[in-house]
């Protein structure tokens, strides 16, 4: 029906014989209509660049499918051919890395109770921000709390709490613990220097046989700094470790050494 437009217009006019002026308009209209493209209008060819685009996409699809499909195996979960990882880690200094680990470990393990603000939950979970247990020199007690958890009544900033904190000795490494304590001691206006990895290592070794959570009472009997008896002036770490190792029963020492060797 290519001539449909022309055929339609007269019939349109006959529809309204009473509308003289309209007639003229329709005639002008008809003139315009003749300039409408012919029905071929509906058959523009597919443009070349679309064909090219299709080709490029198909090529890319084949390439991606062939190289990032883990050979279509059921237990191949990584799309990367053999161990190749994604983006390289951002360059960061050891200090930056230590700080990042601290924040990450805190967000992953501590916020649920102690809150991102470090303020804890009144009556339930004690605050870390401004806490009189945090803002003291030496980390000996804090390291122990993180390693084995804490149970029973404890008074913090004059408020009594009675709850149970988990042990993290299996899930956090020495670096993690040192980093997270450093993070806690340097956030929310808390005071206190960094906690070193060696300190954590020493206390972990010293308390290797312990499983139960600490009580506040027990902790208060432990000197604030260092392991068993810190040598005054000596850097925490190597000397302290020696002391600790000497104090260990022989079978535990052997187990410890085996463990270190395995690493």
């Amino acid at each position: 029906m290519p001539d449909a437009p022309k055929a339609a217009l007269p019939s349109d006019a006959t529809l309204r014989p009473d509308q003289g002026e309209q007639h003229d308009v329709t005639e002008i209209h008809a003139a315009l209509l003749r300039e409408q493209p012919e029905p071929h209008d509906g058959f523009e060819p597919v443009s070349l660049w679309l064909v090219a685009l299709t080709g490029v996409l198909l090529f890319w699809g084949g390439y991606y499918l062939a190289n990032f499909s883990g050979r279509f195996e059921a237990d191949e979960y990584s799309e990367f051919p053999h161990g190749q990882m994604t983006a390289a880690a951002l360059p960061e200094t050891p200090e930056q890395k230590f700080a990042r680990i601290g924040a990450q470990v805190f967000n992953a393990n501590c916020v649920v109770c102690h809150q991102a603000s470090g303020e804890g939950v009144s009556g339930q979970f004690p605050p870390l921000a401004g806490s009189d247990w945090v803002n003291v020199d030496g980390a000996a007690r804090k390291i122990r709390i993180v390693l084995h958890g804490l149970g029973g009544p404890i008074t913090i900033n004059g408020t009594a709490f009675n709850n149970q904190m988990n042990s993290f000795k299996d899930s956090l490494s020495d670096t993690d613990i040192a980093a997270v304590l450093t993070y806690v001691r340097s956030s929310w206006g808390n005071k206190g220097g960094p906690v070193s990895v060696d300190e954590v290592k020493a206390i972990r070794a010293e308390t290797a046989s312990r499983d139960a959570a600490w009580t506040a009472e027990e902790l208060l009997n432990i000197p604030l700094t260092g392991g068993a008896a810190p040598a005054p002036g000596a850097p925490p770490g190597v000397d302290q470790l020696k002391e600790t190792l000497k104090a260990l029963p022989p079978d535990q020492l052997k187990a410890l050494l085996d463990g270190l060797e395995a690493k």
Binding site: Y77, C113, Q115, V121, Q164, N166, S171, S173
Partner: protein
């Protein structure tokens, strides 16, 4: 132009393609996965969750928790799931073989729960958090689930052992206590049963660094 049959065939064939590739093949590859037996310890993983937790799973489903909480950990290097402590390793198909329905979740309006049982084993925390998330997570947009708890008068012989430790603005009126209903208990048992830090061959736990 009258290609009805051609159209008909084409329509069926195209869908047959993905039905074959995205339904049949996955079923072929993953539909018969068996639990893993650890060669050293003989431990079997995964195992069906115990009864009360399984009932709790039904509560989890019926309340639509899966619309805000995922249960899948993305691999190291793709997202920060592992750094956020949501799991120690990526989730793999074997983790889910006993789940009906599988509630992977598609939105993280709240945090991932794959490993919540390990991350937060405290009953107190779970109960007070469910009762009103503001008690333990100030600023949370999770709805309170007070309808899973009962506020009752404290009996003459002292408060119930399972009464919630609520304080401040959340505490009930003096002489009253808040206790969990069986649904709340089941839901908490379920949440505490969510643990994924098990070494399996296709997704080993990372060797401890340093």
């Amino acid at each position: 132009m009258n290609y009805g049959p051609l159209l008909f065939l084409g329509i069926l064939f195209t869908l047959a393609g993905s039905w074959f590739g995205l339904v049949l093949l996955p079923n072929q590859q993953l539909g018969a996965l068996q639990p893993n037996v650890n060669t050293n310890t003989g431990a079997i993983y995964p195992q069906p969750i115990p009864g009360e937790a399984a009932q709790g799973r039904e509560i989890y489903r019926s309340l639509g928790c899966n619309y805000c909480h995922t249960q899948q950990v993305r691999p190291d290097g793709f997202g920060a799931d592992i750094q956020r402590g949501w799991g120690k390793r990526r989730s793999v198909a074997r983790d889910y073989i006993y789940q009906k329905p599988v509630m992977l979740g598609s939105s993280r309006t709240g945090p991932d729960l794959t490993n919540i049982g390990e991350r937060q084993p405290s009953y107190d925390w779970h109960y007070t958090h469910l009762y009103n998330p503001q008690t333990t997570s100030k600023g949370s947009i999770m709805p309170p689930h007070a309808f899973l708890f009962r506020t009752q008068r404290i009996a003459p012989d002292g408060p119930s052992t399972n009464a919630l430790k609520l304080s401040g603005e959340f505490a009930p009126a003096p002489g009253w206590e808040v206790v969990p209903t069986p649904e709340a208990t089941q839901l908490v048992e379920y949440l505490r049963s969510l643990k994924s830090s098990v070494d399996i061959p296709e997704a080993p736990l990372p060797k401890s660094e340093e």
